[in-house]
Symmetry: C2
Subunit: 255 residues, 2 copies
């Protein structure tokens, strides 16, 4: 039986789990959301490494055999440290998304959206340039996207204006491929696509991550299980989480 562990600071990584379940419904998954210390986006590398190690150790105690970091900030800042310190495969969302972008772009004008910490880490930009040294990359932090989604802001005027002003740095740059470099952003995919126009391909790392994991040829679980753990209030997590996961969520346990 293969058990896949995922962790994130909150509900965002559920967009990754959603794609994993769609691609590989016969696996068991353990999802840990570190909601008591949410969000990671504005925190330092040292702190994020410490939290990521603690989260991974918790998942190991649950018997997982592979850990997916379902969080771009933690992948950017802590992936290598986790790979150095733990004895099971640790996979991040970045590599497969970078490969997809390289395979998709025709004019090598690429855009990257992310949290302040992800963009400042330069991880996506570096990885893209390794594969495509002559690419022109525009990276852009979107500090209000996560609060808008987390706080379930529904005002179309606010969403439209924030998306428009945030994406302004991409105007006139002929970008043909844009990365949604934060687990939350697929929930704004429609508005981002409308603002960028139909000629821009959006890359959703949750999808490319699921495609990569499929290739790992994991064993099927005899009885697939889905477990959810949080470090703060389970009810708030469940209430917001179901819109990210797209299916109803079983019992959520506080640890």
């Amino acid at each position: 039986m293969t058990k896949v562990g995922l962790f994130d600071s909150g509900v965002g990584g559920l967009t990754v789990l959603k794609e994993l379940i769609a691609a590989m419904p016969h696996k068991s998954y353990v999802y840990f959301a570190d909601t008591a210390r949410y969000p990671y986006g504005g925190k330092s590398q040292e702190t994020i490494i410490r939290y990521s190690l603690e989260n991974s150790n918790f998942l190991l105690e649950q018997g997982v055999e592979l850990i997916a970091i379902a969080c771009h900030t933690a992948t950017s800042l802590a992936l290598h440290e986790l790979q150095k310190n733990l004895n099971i495969p640790i996979l991040g969302v970045i590599e497969p998304a970078v490969e997809k972008m390289v395979a998709t772009t025709k004019n090598k004008h690429l855009g990257v959206l992310g949290t302040r910490a992800t963009i400042a880490s330069g991880m996506y930009q570096r990885k893209l340039l390794e594969k495509l040294p002559d690419a022109t990359i525009t990276a852009c932090a979107c500090p209000l996207f996560v609060p808008i989604i987390e706080e379930q802001i529904t005002s179309p005027e606010i969403i439209k204006l924030v998306v428009k002003e945030t994406l302004a740095p991409f105007k006139g740059k002929s970008i043909d491929t844009l990365l949604l470099g934060c687990t939350h952003y697929p929930l704004l995919q429609k508005e981002i696509q409308e603002e960028m126009g139909p000629h821009v391909t959006l890359v959703n790392p949750a999808k490319t991550f699921a495609e990569m994991l499929q290739k790992h040829n994991l064993a099927k679980s005899s009885t697939p299980e889905l477990s959810f753990f949080v470090s703060d209030d389970p009810e708030r997590f469940r209430a917001i989480g179901e819109s990210f996961l797209g299916i109803s969520m079983p019992h959520v346990k506080k640890v």
Copy 2:
């Protein structure tokens, strides 16, 4: 020598410290910002009580003789628990703000702004009704105000639209006194006043808190000291913090 301890989840409480320094420059202050677990606004009571106890114990180790909870969420959810468990005076921002509102209103139509957790706790609403049972209170969570300030969003269009839509529930309610029930909100005071109109009095709890503490007749410190501690990156704290504090910040120590 009297040392006053303050804690908050982040930079917000610096608006309280700013008013304390203005009112009582001859005291020593120790400020602890729990930035590694910031923000508290959306977290559960149990978690916020645990964090508040840990923060208070850290301040006690620094030799403070009085603790000011410079955070509305922690005051709403953890003040009584701290008062029960600790042997020094613990003061919150709520009581003096409530007294000011009661003294200010003429028509007893009151408005309260706060984070989701502060508003949901009902603490301000209950305290106001205890003193003014026939008041009409409209309370309103402002989930995007803190992200706008923390992320240093400068777009006047976004700020204006978010303030307008957030304050919409107050329209037509004849409110004459409005509480800025979160330490960050004084930084949006100008925009909030413009949206509400000149006939509405804004109550800033940082100011009323400093006025109350002045009455405590604390001893002067022979050599007033100002110390800052954080649980995450000191530089980010200092960069944002100085706009909250209004003066330049000495060394910030990570604990």
